[in-house]
């Protein structure tokens, strides 16, 4: 899957986290009971895995409503597993979870989950309109067929993502960016309170990424919560309010500007982290890039916090 690491830094100059250094962890500073009562997603000491292989250990954090949260970490760090646990698709081995104030799975109709693009069978004989309509299925009762309201919601969702003219196109004929737009439209059509998006902007062009992030920002302003896994650290710094950095456990959690510092990045990505001159760092983990384009995956450690491109 991953191309050889052409830009791997010499391990010597790579930053290493000082032992015992306190990484920013905002949730630890909050009264846990308060955090739980006000959270859309709340995890306490959650450990989970597949068969006998643990993937996540001792994960605790809380996400307040209206948050745009990025989950970052290298491949195999447990990002997708975390989304599945929150969605109720995977039962944790231990620990406690609440999703929208209930055990995972109980509020499923208020959740829209979008799987990684690689997991979708793009040859499946469905059109763009069919896929977006699936976002309405949870709202329909058993035996009920979609009605005018559902068709309106599909049209509106397609308009929001700029895919109105592709309603009748088979999904395999779309570009990578269009495919992500369609799946975001499916999520929007269900009018969920919680979006769980696995790699929603991986492998798409910058314009599409910016447009999709605008839409997600709009949804969080309306009180919806968005949790998205991503490889794009620049996009994270610019567009997400909060970041959860994981590598089989929580490395850091808090505002994007605090989490994305060199020590945290070094701990997440290890030798995949590349130190550039002037204190900039780059990560060559993004498997969709053969070569890190200048300005694409580097992060200015000293840039003004909260600055927008």
């Amino acid at each position: 899957m991953e191309p050889p690491n052409q830009h791997r830094a010499d391990p010597e100059p790579a930053v290493s986290a000082e032992p015992g250094r306190r990484l920013p962890d905002v949730s630890a500073a909050v009264d846990p009971g308060h955090a739980r009562a006000h959270a859309d997603v709340w995890l306490a000491d959650v450990t989970a895995g597949y068969e006998e292989r643990p993937v996540l250990t001792g994960v605790s954090f809380a996400v307040e409503p209206g948050t745009l949260l990025a989950v970052v970490g290298p491949n195999g760090s447990g990002k997708s597993t975390l989304l599945k646990i929150i969605a109720g698709l995977l039962r944790p081995w231990s620990g406690r979870i609440e999703t929208l104030g209930h055990p995972p799975g109980q509020q499923a109709r208020r959740i829209a989950y979008v799987p990684q693009a690689e997991l979708v069978d793009w040859g499946f004989p469905v059109t763009v309109g069919d896929v977006v309509m699936m976002g309405r299925y949870p709202r329909l009762g058993p035996l009920r067929r979609p009605g005018p309201d559902d068709r309106r919601a599909v049209v509106e969702a397609l308009r929001m993502v700029g895919m109105s003219h592709h309603s009748g196109t088979q999904i395999g004929r779309l570009s990578g960016g269009q495919r992500r737009r369609v799946f975001l439209a499916r999520a929007i059509a269900g009018q969920p309170d919680l979006y769980l998006l696995d790699e929603p902007v991986t492998g798409i062009d910058a314009t599409t990424e910016a447009e999709l992030m605008d839409i997600l920002e709009g949804e969080t302003r309306r009180g919806r919560t968005v949790i998205a896994t991503t490889h794009d650290l620049v996009g994270v710094a610019d567009r997400f309010q909060r970041v959860l950095a994981i590598n089989r456990r929580v490395i850091a959690y808090g505002p994007a500007s605090l989490v994305l510092d060199r020590e945290v990045l070094a701990e997440i990505y290890g030798s995949h982290l590349l130190l550039l001159e002037g204190g900039r760092v780059a990560v060559d983990d993004a498997h969709h890039h053969d070569e890190a384009a200048p300005g694409e995956v580097h992060f200015h450690d000293d840039r003004p916090r909260g600055a927008r491109r």
Partner: protein, 283 residues
């Protein structure tokens, strides 16, 4: 014209025609999901698992639909359960159950004294021998399968296309899996008399595979599969009557011919389309 109308005066031929057409419809509908899930091998395993049920039903003097149905559904649920446990790979589980259940059928069969023509007709199908009672049972079971698919239309579509997304938004994907495997089992039971255990997987897979070559829409794929299923059942039955050859095998051969024709002439895979594209590119 006489060659077409003349057999319709024969009650057994009309019964066979109705039975084959119903089998064509039910197999096409369920087969569409089987093909899209890529579980043709599962259909083969379940059909072979019906064999011991048939023999047991014969030995116990109970209706064969009951014996075959219990065995097929039990195997379908068994495969689903073993797969969910995920300790061994699904294809391995199927391989074990496939051969094991069929061996059990042959074992039971060998305990019967004398020659039993009925059981051979289940191995290879003999729809021309279907009784009025069996036809009614076939139509009822087929209707149950079709009604279930119609009732669970959106759930089956969502869970087949995106099981994770469907599960996350509250659909019981695990239960739908069992229901679907149950439908495959019932479909096989319905088809046994028409084409027999050995060939039933063709009924399940070939019409849907043919349709998939011709369209990229789900509803259209199922409609085309039904057309191919009914059409090849009728054409195959007439051919077998005129040529005095085995009906089940003839129906399956007609389906195979339809598949090859679609492969050769289809919009995406066809030689004709390829020649036209190359011609267009050269011009």
């Amino acid at each position: 014209m006489d060659a077409i109308l003349e057999p319709l005066g024969l009650a057994f031929f009309v019964r066979a025609l109705v039975a084959s057409a119903m089998v064509g419809v039910v197999c096409a509908v369920v087969g569409t999901y089987v093909v899209l899930r890529g579980i043709a091998f599962m259909g083969d395993a379940i059909s072979h698992a019906a064999f011991p049920g048939l023999v047991a039903a014969y030995l116990l003097q109970v209706p064969f639909y009951l014996g075959a149905g219990v065995a097929a559904v039990a195997t379908a649920v068994g495969i689903g359960w073993v797969t969910r446990r995920a300790r061994i790979r699904q294809e391995t589980a199927i391989g074990v159950l496939f051969a094991g259940t069929f061996a059990l059928g042959i074992f039971l069969f060998s305990t019967i004294e004398g020659y039993v023509a009925d059981l051979f007709s289940f191995l290879f199908g003999n729809v021309l021998a279907i009784s009025a009672t069996d036809l009614v049972a076939l139509l009822l079971l087929g209707a149950v399968v079709l009604a279930t698919v119609a009732g669970l239309w959106k759930e089956l579509l969502f869970a087949t296309f995106d099981p994770l997304g469907a599960g996350a938004s509250g659909f019981r994907v695990d239960w739908l899996e069992y229901v679907f495997l149950g439908l495959v089992a019932l479909t096989i039971v319905v088809s046994l008399q028409a084409v027999g255990i050995i060939l039933v997987v063709a009924m399940l897979v070939t019409p849907a595979a043919t349709a998939q070559l011709l369209t990229l829409r789900f509803g259209r794929m199922m409609s085309l599969a039904i057309l191919v299923g009914i059409g090849s059942a009728i054409v195959g039955l007439y051919l077998s009557y005129w040529l005095d050859v085995a009906s089940g095998a003839t129906i399956v051969l007609v389906q195979t011919a339809a598949f090859l024709a679609a492969l050769g002439l289809g919009p995406r895979t066809g030689l004709v389309a390829r020649l036209r594209r190359n011609g267009g590119a050269g011009a």
